[in-house]
Subunit: 201 residues, 2 copies
């Protein structure tokens, strides 16, 4: 069995879970839930990932892999390759750029949450928050402008996880407003079993 | 010509520059220097990378690529592939995990710098700083424990860039102390032309 260290709220861990379901590998992965905060490191996890971040995967050979792009590509290779990760050419660079865009959107949303929820109120810095929010909104606008139809690859998986993380933590952002193409694309994907079954509650 | 948006101090942009030199692609890349701060977005850059982050590459077909792992893999493929990015198997996962470890170390050091230099002094939070410093030190200890000899691949490139960024911004960290294997490995690489010619001044 592989072991996946995760938290159900993490958009990056969710990329791995959706990939595992799409690749029919989920039954080979034991899920180990950890609670993390930026100021409460988890020592068990840190022995596998020195950065103390989730997701981290222990392979069947007991080797640690991280971060989410590495784990997702590893699972794709384990399933034969060229499934969720286009093997080469323009499709690969498009999928990987989209993954970077979506992961960056999620990362900015997580930094917003650290600033607004974890950091003591007296130490919050509105300009930092504004810059993260600008990253989120500019990324959303870029996704709206991009024709997203095509295979459900690692780019699409990353976008779904980022959008739903934003909705989970910042519903007041109302990301759909003014972004009808992106909202329609998401609507077509939201009931897909791998997506619906991993949605944070 | 390709165009690379970068800042000479960025460890992530430096990974791209070292890769380009190693792959003999540097002459096909125009370097466009931008100054970024977490609270001063750069609008020209943002039109190519909605996240407003460096490095970002415009390909010869004028398509934008980011972040640094995507750009570095693209350049490797442009040079024929399997040069700095092992094509498959254990060597690939090892190189990619090392890249993630080194990038995570650099990212934690950058967050330390934001907290210590950019954020107004009255708003600094020592526990956050301590957690980033713990990530840096645990990552360094993990690198010390790992046999790093082997080809100069994307894992090694990322480690060199992270170590030298730490030295550039936080010389008082004295990362070599208590880490003789890592220090010796770095000493063997530091005069390599691609490394020496891209070192931040």
């Amino acid at each position: 069995m592989m072991k996946l260290y995760l938290n159900p709220a993490s958009p990056f861990a969710r990329k791995v879970r959706i990939s595992a379901l799409e690749l029919a590998l989920a039954e080979r992965i034991e899920l180990i839930e950890v609670s993390l905060s930026p100021v409460q490191p988890h020592h068990g996890l840190r022995s596998h990932n020195p950065l103390g971040k989730i997701p981290a995967l222990l392979t069947e050979a007991n080797e640690a892999l991280y971060d989410s792009p590495v784990i997702c590509e590893y699972l794709d290779a384990l399933a034969g390759g060229d499934r969720l990760w286009p093997a080469a050419g323009a499709a690969r660079w498009r999928a990987l750029r989209r993954q970077a865009l979506a992961d960056g959107l999620a990362e900015a949303a997580i930094l917003m949450r650290y600033e607004l929820v974890i950091r003591p109120e007296a130490l919050r810095w509105s300009e930092w928050l504004d810059d993260q929010r600008l990253k989120v909104r500019t990324a959303l606008d870029a996704l709206e402008a991009e024709p997203l139809d095509g295979p459900f690859d690692i780019g699409a998986i990353s976008i779904v996880c980022a959008l739903e993380y934003l909705e989970f933590r910042f519903p007041e952002e109302r990301w759909r407003e003014g972004r009808p193409q992106l909202a329609a694309w998401h609507e077509r994907l939201r009931r897909r079993p791998s997506v619906a079954s991993t949605r944070p509650a």
